[in-house]
């Protein structure tokens, strides 16, 4: 191994990025998405949803203390966590689908890091001015009153946004109006304050300072996405066959040989991750499409057609170089891979919706007590014991009746009550000890393992559910 003496540094300072304001259809779309996604995030905990007197009336609530997840008319219990797993699988497949069809659209439009950074840059622009003003302020060494004022104002607004972000987060886990009152009066649980503090800081730091560094160095998704894209993926690119050779001086000699790119750097100046899209696809690019807006504006000014930087597929390169029109977008998007993702995605979605509608409102689990497997009573009868958990998902207490389907000699009895029915509280699980007894001399008592079926019936509406179990006679010992 040889080492040159003037080895370059292996570490680099971050190049500050000052994205310039830009307007155009993609910027508009991004503003709309920003308003909609932030709106959903901030407003959702405040939506009310009446579920009756004994259940919370918050439309979306992750009730960790009581182990319930409420989503409008849907209520998920811990044993139904597979719905959450299904949603996560759908989210994963959805990302695969979007990425293979249109590249990093998630990163460019919907990722919280992008959305909040966009918002933070907007605040920065309002307070410190556009790119050039911010650059001047950055280069100004002297810390005068104006610079201090601008910086402090900006940080204060950022902090407020961060506080609102962390604040909104905790509202998903408790009744929002009550929690807000407790937060303000200082009575909320320390976990709420800690969560808010952490999220305030991370939002402030990620959106205000780390920005594209999160995407480039911290986030694993860009690396995964590289495997999701192929030559038919529509992604933001530069038509170098149309733009090159680039040149500024249109009136200079030989200008007729120049491409459409006038090297105005508009695409670079608006880029929130500080790259030059004309160098081709790069890992840093989040395909926010702002360079398309910037370049289209310039092309309009110099009287050239739009789309020097555009959503394009690499498979069209040769076709476009030879002067043909690129294939329409749907031909790129509709391909076996994306269709497979769609089918998988929709399949899981449909299965979950069906599961949601067929799941019973009452349910039970039966755990036979196996220590000991049976008990001999003084009259010689053989008794088996079962721990039965009765689930009532209704918003009011219900009377559940237990019955048995098995050998006619068997009798069912419930601990603590002479009746075969019990009151199960609203939205709760009741543990009930149940005895099955077969009298002395009956074939069930003398025999071995016998199959039995427990039925539970909601006496208020006749809804029924069953669970199979087994009975052990003397013969099993």
């Amino acid at each position: 191994m040889t080492n040159s003496t003037d080895a370059p540094s292996l570490y680099a300072a971050r190049e500050p990025i000052f994205p310039r304001r830009v307007s155009g259809p993609f910027r508009h779309l991004k503003w709309i998405i920003l308003i909609v996604t932030l709106g959903i995030y901030y407003v959702t905990p405040w939506i009310r949803w009446d579920r009756g007197p004994s259940l919370p009336d918050q439309a979306v609530l992750l009730d960790l203390a009581n182990r319930r997840f409420y989503f409008f008319w849907i209520e998920i219990w811990p044993h139904e966590f597979y719905f959450v797993a299904g949603l996560l699988i759908m989210a994963g497949l959805g990302l695969f689908l979007f990425t293979s069809a249109m590249g990093r659209v998630w990163c460019g439009y919907a990722c919280p890091q992008t959305v909040w950074t966009d918002l933070y840059i907007l605040v920065e622009r309002w307070i410190e001015g556009d790119r050039n003003a911010r650059l001047r302020l950055h280069r100004q060494k002297k810390l005068d009153a104006r610079k201090i004022r601008l910086r402090l104002t900006k940080w204060a607004v950022w902090l407020l946004i961060g506080l609102a972000t962390g604040g909104a987060w905790v509202f998903y886990f408790a009744d929002a109006p009550n929690l807000l009152r407790d937060l303000v009066t200082g009575q909320a649980h320390p976990v709420a304050y800690t969560t808010m503090a952490i999220l305030t800081f991370t939002t402030f730091f990620f959106g205000g300072f780390a920005r594209e560094q999160i995407c480039i160095y911290a986030c694993p998704w860009p690396r995964i996405q590289a495997a999701m894209m192929d030559e038919d993926t529509l992604t933001v690119g530069y038509r170098e066959w149309r733009g090159e050779p680039r040149g500024k001086h249109r009136k200079a000699e030989g200008a007729e040989n120049l491409g459409d790119c006038i090297d105005c750097m508009a695409c670079v100046n608006v880029c929130p991750v500080g790259i030059d899209i004309r160098n081709g696809q790069q890992m840093e690019c989040i395909t926010c499409a702002l360079c398309i807006d910037a370049c289209d504006g310039i092309m309009a000014k110099i009287g050239k057609p739009r789309g020097l930087i555009d959503y394009l597929a690499l498979s069209d390169e040769d076709r476009e170089k030879s002067g043909e029109k690129p294939r329409p977008a749907w031909q790129h998007i509709l391909r076996p891979r994306t269709m497979l993702y769609t089918v998988l995605w929709a399949g899981i979605g449909i299965a979950m919706v069906i599961a949601l509608f067929v799941r019973p409102e009452i349910d039970m689990t039966v755990a036979p007590v196996r220590n000991p497997i049976n008990v001999t009573l003084s009259d010689g009868a053989i008794r088996n014991t079962y721990d039965i958990r009765l689930r009532n998902k209704h918003g009011d207490a219900r009377q559940f009746n237990l019955s048995l389907n098995g050998d006619p000699a068997m009798r069912i009895a419930l601990e603590g009550t002479p009746y075969t029915s019990v009151m199960v509280p609203a939205n709760a699980t009741l543990l009930q000890r149940v005895y099955i007894t077969a009298p002395r001399g009956s074939s069930a008592a003398a025999g071995g393992l016998a199959n039995i079926r427990f039925w539970v019936e909601d006496l208020s509406n006749g809804e029924r559910a069953f669970k199979d179990s087994t009975y052990n006679g003397r013969g099993t010992q």
């Binding site: 292996l10 570490y11 971050r14 005895y435």
Partner: protein
Amino acid sequence: MSKPSQKFEGDPTTTGHSWDGIEEFNNPLPRWWVWVFYLTIIWGIGYTIAYPAWPGITGASTGLLGWSSRALVDEELQEAEAANAAINERLASVELTAIAGDPELNTYATQAGAAVFRTWCTQCHGSGAAGVQASGYPNLLDDDWLWGGDIENIHYTISHGIRNEDDDDARYSEMPAFGEILEEEEITQVANFVMTLSGETPADAAAVEPGAIVYEDNCAACHGDAGEGDVFQGAPNLADAIWLYGGDYDTLVETVTYSRYGVMPPWTPRLSEAQIRAVAIYVHGLGGGQ
């Protein structure tokens, strides 16, 4: 032999390292990332000073914050104790018979009692409360009780125990060893008779009739004329299907000859009144409670 590696326009600079002509691109790490790394080292050192970490000869350093997982467990136990203080007090002070009618108290007592049972009772009565069959540790699941199976009797038995010398109020009765009182033949006769009380086939049918006379003279005072037993004396029911030591002929002869003397310690000195009541409620709810 090796050709210089092909270079492209726009390639990053190289680190200057070269192995047999293979060079390494320099994609520099952001410097703040390195500072974060150094910060974690400083944090890590600080952490080992604040918390127990450094191994010594007799033990690890205790840390400036004085944190210990044992203290944490103690604290949590005390917190749990404090949190349960009110309901424990209620459990210890209400009428015993009123507990079953109070769902909150009953649920608490059953669960707390299960914990007490697992700690103190399973050694003899088994983790499933089925006792040890044929060895004299009673099954608590069935409906047969030596000293009574209502909540008050269970509570008394747990509080004071049986035939122990530690508690003057312990339940007490003594079956004589009939080997010193009866002839061997009389013992075989009475054993055969006792088998018929619970509907078993006697080992020697001819011995049943004289056995009945022996029984009436010697056993009926405690075990009852029909072998129904007596919970006031802890005399077992001999007519039911349940045997504490076994109902076969040989075991019966052994029992009559040498007698039986099961002992249970009193729990008042070791458990609080709330704990005793909790475990009484738990045992009462196992299926045999009266």
